[in-house]
Symmetry: C2
Subunit: 426 residues, 2 copies
């Protein structure tokens, strides 16, 4: 695609998998891939200032179009100079299309061939989103990468009441987002998925035609199809016939098991063009990321680091720890011994703490637990910073493993990335 605002340079390929290391050039600078994008839903990574986000190593952020279009409105952000300037982030930004939230967050939504109508979660007003409108809003927001508006039906049949389906529907989705609401009557799930798949192709063509900033915003198409691999093949073929700067796999991590996610990604990623960025939306846990990287995925986003951080759940190389737990009440160690984030090693960030005796300067688990027990805002801030840094360190290690082809050493160092059930990616 000539004149694309985006360029992927592949710098190294794994000898043992489809994984690749690269860098993606955008109008607001470069980011290294495979990349993890923190989520700044409403134009802010919750509790973490943009300079602190940058200090964790993040090079690109995601903003949610749905939230920003409802409040403060995309026109207001356009008049402020776009999302970068509005939120104080001078590096790449990606916006989603708003479709996912229009389907999953709204108490009411009505979909037809032209678009979706839903009630605003801010003021209950009726809002209409079509491919043209979703692209117009994203043109106003001004992110470097914008996403197609697709039809996203529930991947799990909401009319079936098998115990397992029930469990999946009621469970919090793997990425912490609410699963699609279920329980509709008179609903033909297979027919609905077929319609959605067709519609997503038509809507992508409309998105591309509506896109007025093709010179400085890269539009990505989204492959859908749920857990049905034939449907994924059909969607990938049709979507990739439309020439775009990059492609994403959507409709994943909305309630399925890790094995189901892996199966879809292993099947679908190789169907996307090799020389363009591949983005797996809403994933996720370390083990899911590694599997997807090895299938050839370049970009990830997830709310896990900040959402779990706000709940005192800290990621470590060995798994999550819950800092509200009583066993940390007198623990002088940092969240993770060898972490270099501001919370674990403030000295490395120009803030030497008073150290006594054998301990080194750090915000201790004991102090952070106290902050959470007392309801102090610094608790969520410190653990969010640590978790964001965790995922950036993890991605740096992933890129290193790809370059050197040494996955066994990688899994020894990052046991959290080893899948507990099903196939082990190593």
């Amino acid at each position: 695609m000539s004149g694309s605002p985006l360029r992927l340079d592949i710098l190294a390929r794994c000898t043992q998998s489809r994984a690749r290391v690269g860098q993606i050039h955008t109008p607001h600078g470069v980011f290294h891939t495979p990349a993890f994008m923190p989520v700044g839903t409403r134009g802010s990574v919750k509790g973490v200032l943009p300079s602190q986000v940058a200090a964790t190593g993040a090079q690109i952020l995601l903003n949610n179009t749905y939230h920003l279009m409802l409040r403060p409105g995309s026109e207001l952000i356009r008049r402020r100079g776009g999302v970068h300037r509005f939120m104080g982030w001078n590096s790449p930004v990606l916006t989603d299309s708003g479709g996912y939230q229009a389907y999953s967050l709204a108490a009411m939504n009505r979909v037809d061939d032209d678009g979706v109508t839903f009630k605003s979660i801010v003021d209950g007003a009726e809002v209409r989103l079509t491919p043209e409108r979703a692209i117009h809003v994203q043109n106003e927001l001004g992110a470097d990468i914008i996403m197609a508006f697709d039809d996203c039906p529930p991947s799990i049949d909401p009319s079936v009441h098998e115990p397992n389906q029930e469990r999946l529907r009621n469970a919090t989705a793997r990425d912490g987002r609410p699963p699609h609401p279920g329980g509709k009557r008179g609903y033909d799930h297979v027919a609905r998925l077929a319609v959605a798949n067709e519609r997503t192709v038509t809507w992508l063509e409309r998105c591309k035609r509506a896109h007025t900033r093709q010179g400085d915003q890269a539009l990505f198409g989204i492959v859908q199809g749920g857990t049905d691999l034939d449907r994924r093949s059909w969607s990938a073929e049709r979507i990739c016939q439309i020439d775009l700067p990059g492609y994403a796999i959507g409709g994943v991590a909305v309630g399925e098991s890790g094995d189901q996610i892996a199966a879809v990604v292993r099947h679908t990623a190789p169907l996307l063009p090799d020389h363009k960025p591949r983005y797996l939306m809403g994933v996720g846990y370390e083990c899911d990321i590694v599997e997807a990287v090895r299938a050839g995925i370049d970009m990830f986003d997830c709310v896990l680091p900040t959402r779990n951080g706000r709940n005192a759940n800290a990621f470590t190389r060995f798994g999550q720890i819950r800092l509200r737990n009583l066993r940390f009440a007198e623990d002088d160690a940092p969240i993770e011994a060898d972490c270099d984030c501001y919370a674990c090693d403030p000295g490395a960030h120009g803030w030497p703490l008073p150290g006594t005796g054998t301990s080194h300067g750090t915000f201790s688990r004991a102090y952070i637990r106290h902050l959470f027990m007392a309801g102090e805002m610094l608790g969520p801030t410190l653990v969010s910073i640590h978790n964001l840094r965790h995922f950036q360190r993890f991605m740096a290690a992933v890129r290193d493993a790809i370059r050197t082809g040494t996955w066994s050493g990688f899994f020894e160092r990052w046991p959290v990335a080893t899948r507990r059930t099903g196939t082990n990616p190593s």
Copy 2:
């Protein structure tokens, strides 16, 4: 006092008032006076990391003994190496005695000649605080400056139901703290104040005897007496007969008018030793601070910058602005044009924002308003940082005005410090 852990060097004196500029040496370093101390109630300045607090220019913090003794407990903090190490602040710290909160926050309290019994706001348990216990707890916390445990009856008679008294009792105190609860029957206010004044002297002697860390913690006595100037004289004389490294004026800014505060401070400050630090507890607004500085006060603390910051109220040289106001929705200016805080001028803190056209890089009022409307944590954080910097810039200007004796220029530059009613300090 030989062997004092504290030393006040007076560097300059105002030619037009009793104000002085100095520096106070403590075991954790020096702070410049007149000084404003941000409040870190539970071992954290709400929403602001210690490195960010230091970047505002604050050189000393206040922690509340009452809150820390209830949670996480002073023994736990002692085992962590004290408050400095616990909260990651390697500069001077002051702790209050817990008395004020024991009286004002508890649903129940019972005072006798030996101490106070109250219910914990954390778990409802019955807690006993005596002069010995308050000092023991502060010895465990390990602050550089610790405060005497005093008897603090309501300064306003809780049994009188005049409209004005009622108003004062129900109003939020000037410093944002709740006023003393009222409405007790069979209560003799004058007798109660007399007993409290006597008791405070006896309790100070007990505090001094109980103090086991006189070599590295400086105990300050507190002059009480409400708005009765004769009682203040009596208290100042008796309290200052007890040789201590510094003295405070307590029982102020608990519901009185600005004129009442000024009258008490102008009367009492000159009664305290000239060569030792003088601390006016819980004050306050800029105009109150200036009046007190000119009466000879060296130290101030208040929750205003952070409490108001959390509510979107930003301090400026011209008064407070409410950033939730609709008129800021499309305002690209920083909170205050010539402020150098992280929120107003992130470039000065190593974080250059994307600037376009005529505007310079800043977190705009429009963005900060959006953060508050959307309930994002960064709103409170950014405005708290700005407000903390406001008070530090203000104190630097106060110190400059003292050195140069140019108060008229000072009030032109800081109109917010001009008292609207009553006497003007300029």
